[in-house]
Point group: D2
């Protein structure tokens, strides 16, 4: 029942300067709000809707930039991995390895992530129920590494749409692992722009508030200084000025929520 953590950053590492700028802003804003902060960014967008989508700076440059963010700002860093070799390389640099939702059932990837000894944040596949994540987490834990986090980033709901089931947070928490709510991917509209995903960022604060009121260990948001022109996930990333008021509200909601364990006190 520790206070919630903020996991945030731009969708992808666009450049060294850009990553450092966004990370510094988020780190300071989180510090001012009294919220622990983890920086997140991707070095490769390996599953873009269309081949034409920008993929990123690549693993070598990306890991180097993530290391610099951590060294400069003193915050843990998180990135996502897509195959076993990437997992090993990223596992030497970052603090938290993230398994993308589409890949959350790939046994070898989960085992490789577990074997690094680093914390592993597994995103729930859009095609899975919350309770299906026990088997998924068990794959990582079978390596002797129980530093697992489980993230909800929405569930398929008809075509081109996701929905968040907030019963999923306490359900996944029954595994004993910390549960993260990803507020910006949860408002994505997959494939909604034809050759890229759409989304409605206006709903992300509402869903983050709901998640914290239900009870979660961390909130994940992607944020950007110019989301409408970002190379990926623009429609759902948050503008930087939203972060401070959002953290302020989430802190207050979290204090209420952490006062009563959901399944015991009613």
């Amino acid at each position: 029942n520790a206070p919630f953590v903020l996991i945030a950053g731009p969708c992808q590492i666009e450049s060294r300067e850009h990553a450092l700028k966004i990370a510094a802003f988020l780190s300071e804003t989180a510090k001012a709000a009294g919220v622990p902060f983890v920086f997140k960014a991707s070095y490769d967008k390996a599953n873009r809707t269309s081949l034409k989508g920008t993929r990123g700076v690549g693993i070598e440059a990306g890991l180097s930039i993530l290391a610099e963010v951590r060294d400069r700002l003193g915050c843990p860093v998180l990135t996502d991995v897509h195959d076993i070799e990437q997992t090993r390389r990223a596992g030497e640099v970052v603090d938290i390895l993230q398994i993308p939702a589409f890949l959350c059932r790939q046994t070898d990837l989960l085992l490789a992530a577990g074997e690094t000894g680093k914390a592993v944040n597994i995103k729930k596949g859009q095609f899975l129920a919350p309770w299906d994540m026990q088997n998924v987490a068990d794959k990582v834990a079978s390596t002797g590494n129980d530093r697992v986090l489980l993230t909800d980033r929405g569930t398929s709901f008809g075509y081109g749409a996701l929905i968040t089931d907030f019963r999923g947070l306490p359900t996944m928490a029954e595994t004993g692992y910390p549960v993260v709510f990803d507020a910006t991917h949860s408002v994505q509209e997959p494939g909604g722009r034809g050759s890229s995903s759409g989304g409605k960022r206006v709903f992300a604060p509402a869903l983050a508030r709901a998640a914290v009121a239900v009870g979660c260990a961390a909130v994940f948001v992607e944020a950007h200084d110019d989301p409408d022109n970002a190379p990926s996930d623009g429609p759902n990333m948050l503008p930087l000025p939203w972060i401070a008021p959002l953290l302020s509200d989430l802190k207050a909601l979290d204090a209420v929520a952490k006062g009563r364990t959901l399944t015991e006190a009613y």
Copy 2:
């Protein structure tokens, strides 16, 4: 942005004594929490899963008991109506007429409810999107009665399951009408017990907390002194001892949520 209201009561009026007892408990508990209270109960369960389900005391006895609850406790009373004649009769007694979710597209019923001049609480059909409720509300408003409330009680999600989309609360609020969140029907599992619906009441407080944190005008819950033996909706009704701690948490969350309008301040 007034503080939230509690709409609560047993699923059905089982007897005069039972209704008065539950109403008195809820009224006192809400008063102690400083939460305005509306008593809800049904005189007829007109759409039970199976013909064998208990339907209730009927409209004549039911309206008389509702009037007595209001007179004794001084709280507004709400009941649901299923045809035009019932609507006219109930409209002479209760403060709020409720349109059941399955019936929310029946134009003549909506018009009849509007014409009573009473407040009309329309439950969003499980088969409708939040934005579809503008056309539904317009039918009532066409009678010159704009005392409309819109309630979310879950949306169809595969078979035998409902899901709550918390983006729906601000979406329905764009109509300008107060939005209610029904926390106990939202955790129903339609048809889940073969000849009656199932449900998981354990999730209702979580969803109520989420709704209040997002922002809503009222929370609707069904409550019972012995839910496991209630004639209808037992699996999702709340036991009475859950109400006081739930209201306490919701009050605190509401104070945070009402401090910042969702769509303007981020």
Copy 3:
């Protein structure tokens, strides 16, 4: 395992002349194809998306026109009913009473329909699983009238969309009642045009072919001489020239499908 029946007509009775013209066309086309024909049309569209939608000629004129269609063409006629009084009146005129999908759980309506002694075609609610229809059919059968038909017209699939689960046809057939597939409402897009439903008629023949290949007792389609300008359900109604080739294909598929009972012969 009798050959399939065609239930068809315009969504609503627009006028005596229009109904007779469409009925005559469909009757002749069905006769030429060797397919038994039931004429369907509504006298009142009681649940339009918006109050502005055209509702129809009303029950008195409507029943008179339906009687004339039957007398002139010698075909059974079907219409839908929305309350108990309509059910009694329509029950004196038409051959098959239809319970709309939104109303399929209204116990009193089902009982009233059963009590007329006429055949009762119940549309599966978009919010129900196929196996939920056993309880629904039992309500009608409790009146001693077992002349029940069960129709699939699609299931809610996210917002503004329906999907057809073809496992539902054999599942509903396990009740022992004939199963009808409604090919044109199944391709509706509820609320898709803001103040009316959208739809994609181009997919209706595909779904009708699928249904007949799986095995069903009847195919229901709405058809119109100018669907793009029809007062309701235009986007999904079929133009008249599609009917003859569709029946020809369905006949051929039906002959194959009826040759092997689904659950026994594999």
Copy 4:
């Protein structure tokens, strides 16, 4: 509009003897029915629900057995691949490389498959709309290899369930690539047995009949001599005696369906 092809085999290669036995049976049965046959089996089940699920014989043994099946029976062989190195190795042996549904958005895997020059069968992710597959196919085609097949194996429908949208077959056919219907995975119930998926094989013939009546290039089924004791996908695999009558019916339905192009002739 060529007659349909059968793609069939056991879910996994259990042993050389078992694969050869099943392949021989299916090859003969297809030949007797006059249906072209492709043998399918997996050397590795890389995304089992639970870590405890049997994974298979591995790529080296698996490719050798697939080569032997092709050499002995003269039929093309298909297997699924999970990373770039597997793709290159399998691409030297099999005729059709298959991209699993969960992996259908992994750009590098699609490019690697395309670069082998072999035919690439891409399964539509359970989380994608049919129209999303154009972008997916374009990734393969960007390598200069347009020998792409698109397979429907069901779409997420609530939790633990899949549904088949038969509008998806003509929608995917608009890409110009042949469309395959996977009748046995479409009746899976993901995670339905806790540590493995459930399913209802009884519905697979119904869905296969529907797909052929709508129109498709190939039908994919997994079949086994003892499905109830198979190491994977037992609940949805077909027993061998179902294959001959199913092919007989599908042949007759296909002859009707191929007689009229869906979107042109109605």
